[in-house]
Homo-oligomer: 128 residues x 2
Amino acid sequence: MSMIPSVAEVDVRPLSRLYRALADDTRVRLVALLAGGELCVCHLEHALGLPQPTVSRHLQILKAAGVVDSRRDGTWVHYRLVPQDAPERQAALDAITRAFGAPRVLRADLARLKRARGPGACDQEKTP
Amino acid sequence: MSMIPSVAEVDVRPLSRLYRALADDTRVRLVALLAGGELCVCHLEHALGLPQPTVSRHLQILKAAGVVDSRRDGTWVHYRLVPQDAPERQAALDAITRAFGAPRVLRADLARLKRARGPGACDQEKTP
DNA sequence: CCGGGACATTCGGATATCTGCATGTCCATG
DNA sequence: CATGGACATGCAGATATCCGAATGTCCCGG
């Protein structure tokens, strides 16, 4: 007979750490933007209208919490959401996608960005 | 033609406020316990093994965030989860239920409590 | 090798959060 | 009305978080 775990014994920290990572307006907006796919810091910076160090710092917090991952591409760094192993963590993240990550919202933002900055720079991705 | 909202314009505060309310180990455990149904403060206090003022204060934070509601029953106060209108908020809460609120976990805790304190006091609910 | 652009990190101060201890409030009971 | 139990709140200190400004690091083009 195996011991049935109690709420006192179960480790809630992985989930509460995720909630703490999302307990900030800027970071929720970042996750919402990234729900549409990979983006570089310069795009996120312009989309949010916040200074670069601020955006970078919040991205580090999300990264430390395992919410996002980064990929270096020359001068730029692209961030993307990390698929979560634990279903409860994925569900908590999906809440943001459901609310603000709907394609219509994100596409409007990205289109505005591309219009403002032009298709140069980090936009070209892997398809020249 | 209606303006398509951008992430910058959309108000993320309701969701980030919910995440902030859940960004604490004790509060996640409280929600997990309440996922099984209404409970009075004295039960929560014993289940968590924390001093009463601490539990009470965390319950107030959850209440202010619209996560729980309270019902006075004579000397005792019973707390329960509030069904969320916004589906994204409900999804974020369900993440806790999914992870720690499984019936087997909660029943073990409650059984231990009833065994420890006996069926008297606030247990008798509405059925004498 | 030297600049400049993109991004990360450090530092300092303001603000918020968490906790323990004490006290306050409300209700039932005698 | 006095007492005690259940719960809420006030207060003070330690800790954590957030932000602006400045500085560091890495990479690419010349």
